[in-house]
């Protein structure tokens, strides 16, 4: 009986009186990739990011963010078309991140927190576990911004690396997320 009570006490913070808070990704948020080629570096940016972060009463956070692969713009139409071919965007049109982490509510706002999200990134039809360090700036209980950077392997996701003048880009692709979040959107 005491053991059951102790277990119940451990579970209590997960069922807070206020319930979860959903923060939606707002316009102006970006996802960017950076590719390195022997001759130059390429950055493609997507401004068509959709996503949500669910703040759980127990201090946990669930995150789901995705963007259409064809929404990334590197400033060169030919190169973007080449990227769509390499990533088979017609078959796998989205890149999606689902992750969880611990983000206890701060004692006061504004506040800054560093969170390492553990989750899965689905890209090119392949889902792999990832760890994403994120810096979260909590402006208010219903408003936040987050930035994070993640390096993935193109080979690991089965993407045939694009090439220019018969030289392939490096295997590492750096994904940077800059998200603005707010409740009620």
């Amino acid at each position: 009986m005491p053991a059951a009570l102790a277990a119940l006490a451990l579970l209590l913070p997960l069922a807070g009186p206020e319930g979860p808070v959903d923060l939606s990704v707002r316009p102006g948020s970006t996802l960017a990739y950076t590719l390195v080629h022997k001759f130059h570096e390429v950055t493609g940016v997507s401004k068509a990011v959709e996503g949500k972060a669910r703040l759980l009463p127990g201090g946990g956070v669930q995150v789901m963010v995705r963007a259409r692969v064809d929404s990334f713009d590197s400033g060169n139409g030919n190169r973007d078309a080449h990227m769509l071919e390499a990533t088979e965007a017609a078959r796998f049109p989205f890149v999606t991140l689902k992750a969880v982490g611990a983000l206890p509510p701060p004692a006061a706002y504004p506040a800054t927190a560093e969170v390492t999200l553990q989750g899965e990134l689905t890209f090119h039809g392949v889902t792999k576990p990832v760890a994403l360090p994120v810096k979260v700036e909590l402006a208010a209980p219903d408003r936040a911004s987050a930035t994070g950077k993640l390096t993935i392997s193109l080979d690991g996701y089965g993407v045939e690396r694009p090439s220019l003048l018969f030289v392939k880009v490096d295997d590492a692709l750096v994904v940077t997320a800059t998200l603005s979040l707010a409740a009620g959107l």
Binding site: H82, V100, A131
Partner: protein, 220 residues
């Protein structure tokens, strides 16, 4: 009995204690003993998340998206092959154009600038002109005829547009050079031949320059 009790006590002792280093007092002047410990680096090892990921915060993706379309994929493969060959032919075209300009300069010097008008560079120049023109045309056709399965963003000034504009200038230069070269030969022996040949020479370098710019912009 006493031995068994000792053994039980030893087994019951927390194992972590055995692994902890003995606490030693900090040495005098040891700054590290008083400095705050640096924050632990985040553990970036990808692992299965502690909590399940069976939540969906966004509407489901279109289900039909993952269906392969063989006809579409054939177009993509054809485009990739054609553009890969285009790059190879483009590199060969640049080398051939550079050689044509060099040999053309030698031909001009031989004929008009005290070279003795031996004519020894004429045939090599003509062969290089034919080679460059063929390669140039092939590279252009490979790019122009490649299918475009994925719609491209257009109507803006980017490096792909600069590449096309530069190659358009180079194409005009190639055509003008061929006409001028033939016109100069028709005026052989006259003062006009030299004038036409000089313009032809300038256009040759301009064409090579436009082609070089068109290739170089791809690195930005």
């Amino acid at each position: 009995m006493r031995l068994a009790t000792l053994l039980l006590v030893a087994l019951a002792a927390p194992p972590a204690l055995a692994d902890e280093p003995a606490a030693t007092p900090p040495a005098p002047g040891d700054a590290s003993a008083t400095a705050p410990a640096p924050p632990p680096a985040p553990d970036l090892t990808p692992r299965a998340p502690a909590a399940p990921l069976d939540f969906d915060l966004l509407p489901a993706e279109p289900a039909a998206a993952a269906r392969p379309d063989p006809a579409f994929e054939r177009l993509v493969a054809r485009r990739r092959l054609m553009l890969k060959v285009h790059q190879g032919v483009g590199i060969a075209t640049w080398a051939s154009l550079a050689a044509t300009a060099v040999v053309g300069q030698l031909q001009l010097d031989d004929r008009f600038r005290g070279g003795g008008d031996t004519g020894r560079y004429r045939t090599p120049h003509q062969v290089l002109v034919a080679t460059s023109s063929t390669l140039f045309l092939s590279a252009g056709l490979l790019a122009l005829l490649a299918p475009v399965p994925y719609e491209k963003r257009g109507g803006r000034l980017d490096t792909a547009t600069l590449h096309k504009v530069s190659m358009g200038v180079a194409t005009a230069g190639m055509l003008a050079q061929i006409v001028l070269g033939m016109a100069a030969r028709r005026q052989a022996g006259s003062l006009r031949e030299r004038d036409l040949a000089t313009v032809h020479q300038g256009l040759g370098y301009a064409t090579l320059g436009a082609f070089t710019v068109g290739a170089a912009v791809l690195f930005f």
